[in-house]
Amino acid sequence: MSSIPSQNASKPLWARYTHASHFRTAAEEFDACKLGFWLFLTTEVLLFGGIFCAYFIFRTLYPGAWKEGSQLLDWRFGGLNTAVLLISSYTMAASIYCFQKGYTRRAQWNLIITLICGAAFLFIKLAYEYIPKWSVGKRPGALFDYPFAADPHLPLWWSVYYSGTAIHAAHVIIGMVLIARVLYRSYKGHYGPTHYTMVEITGLYWHLVDLIWIFLFPLLYLIH
């Protein structure tokens, strides 16, 4: 980066970007970044895999608790959140397309919509699910205090519900921080048709959040 040709000084930051010196080409750098990130995503899938496995074990051992638990969730909030995340995934992908084409303004608006969708997801989760449930004692494990439970293993259901959805919500928050960073840097002119690696990587992270929810939603809300 130290040897930027002087004739480039008037160009935006993205046009001045050159790949790191240990790569032969920008394409090689881009591919390496993506491969590295996909490898990280595999560890993320395995992280949630542990929770899915816990779900699988407890559902097999205590089907009554799982039936009762899923009936205590309202599919409408889960479905609404699924739609919100799918739309945000679309706007994220659209934002990458716009950066590739040089439509910076449109790309930024897509990122803003993605952020709004992320915030909407967290709001729905918190206001319509976590707070009303937690306040009447539908809590995980030893914190459980709901008087109308029929199955003695219901606290386990809430343990799996909260660990699955809360770790997912943490990913939504991290994803929003990354998107906000990309948005901030895009206003400084860091991303354009020849350099958008960070946008693409952030997008991959955001799509993973969507991917996990695609499985959490039917497992928690629909199957009983």
Binding site: R24, A27, S135, G141, A142, F144, Y146
Partner: protein, 330 residues
């Protein structure tokens, strides 16, 4: 440094991550256009609607025809749709379809590892009784939280119920529950009249009874003493509002109901107060049977575990005018 070649337009450009296609040297990066992205979004939303629809259809078949589909129908259906959706997201939104195949290989290997993880867990879970019958089911009967300090040696579900029964015996809560019975009785009586004004008044009284029957009201918002008088005042206030809106027949009925509620003999009602019947009524209310149960603490069936319908309205109430600050449970 060789990598600072000028970006000539018809020339190999090493600074461009997707610009080599002119010479066909590097096609791995393709721009996925808006048409494909939008189509995929629509398909994903349709699949979401489909998976919800299948789950609702299963419930409808149970409710209307009494046919219980085998458990795996729902599981296989929902998981297949989720798998298709995730493949679409990975292929198009995450661009695996257009990417260097090594990324797909990495992800497929990850799913293979996850599959092994679940497979060996399943091998254990489902074959425990193949040699010795007694190994079927959980090895140790546990998972009820009976060892937790707050549960006092009982399953934590029972301990929670016991704590709630103690709560129901408190004088203030007892008065509130007696108020609920009085209100339900008024609704029942108004139901016999069958007029529009009666229905209007009954709706107001029902809403108050529902509010007091809500678990959130009982355990989160602290119930204060004197609920009979407060509810009577509440009904009178609503009556005054109705009168201002020129609905005086309903207002008259409301005021009469308020008089009845205010006139309940608390000591007498407390003597015949049944904690168990109240618990059963509250439980059926919590499970979504609004207004189904009869008045005066008649125990409604708790066996009906149909889907709770109160979810949306309950949740909205958190931000409603009646909302109080959550006080961290009890």
């Amino acid at each position: 440094m060789a990598h600072h070649a000028p970006a000539a337009s018809d020339h190999f450009d090493e600074t461009d991550p997707h610009g080599h296609s002119k010479h066909g040297q590097h096609e791995s990066h393709v721009i996925v256009g808006p048409f494909i992205l939008r189509t995929i979004l629509v398909v994903l939303l349709l699949f979401t609607a489909l998976t919800v629809g299948i789950a609702q259809l299963e419930i409808a078949i149970q409710n209307w025809f009494g046919i219980y589909l085998p458990w795996w129908v729902n599981v296989v259906g929902a998981m297949s749709i989720a798998t298709i959706k995730s493949i679409l997201v990975m292929a198009y939104f995450m661009q695996l379809k257009y990417d260097n195949p090594i990324n797909t290989v990495a992800m497929l290997f990850c799913f293979f590892a996850l599959g092994l993880f679940l497979l060996f867990t399943g091998l254990d879970l489902f074959t425990r009784d193949k040699i010795y019958d007694y190994k079927a089911g959980p090895v140790v009967a546990g998972g009820t939280g009976a060892g937790v300090v707050s549960a006092g040696g009982k399953p934590i579900v029972e301990a929670s119920k016991d704590r709630f029964l103690v709560k129901l015996a408190e004088p203030d809560v007892r008065e509130a529950m007696i108020t609920v019975n009085a209100l339900r009785h008024e609704v029942h009586e108004l139901g016999k009249l069958g007029t529009d004004a009666a229905r209007q008044a009954a709706a107001v009284i029902s809403a108050r009874a529902d509010y007091l029957s809500d678990l959130k009201t009982i355990i989160v918002k602290q119930i204060e003493p004197g609920e009979l008088a407060r509810s009577a005042k509440h009904l009178r206030d609503r009556a005054a509002e109705l009168r201002a809106g020129a609905a005086s027949p309903a207002a008259d009925l409301l005021e009469k109901a308020a008089q009845h509620v205010a006139g309940v003999n608390l000591a007498e009602a407390a003597a015949s107060y049944s904690i168990d019947a109240t618990f059963a009524t509250l439980a059926s209310f919590a499970h979504g049977d609004h207004g189904q149960h009869a008045h005066s603490g008649e125990a409604a069936s708790t066996s009906d575990r149909s889907r709770p319908r109160a979810g949306l309205t309950d949740a909205l109430e958190v931000f409603g005018p009646a909302a109080a600050k959550p006080q961290g449970g009890h």
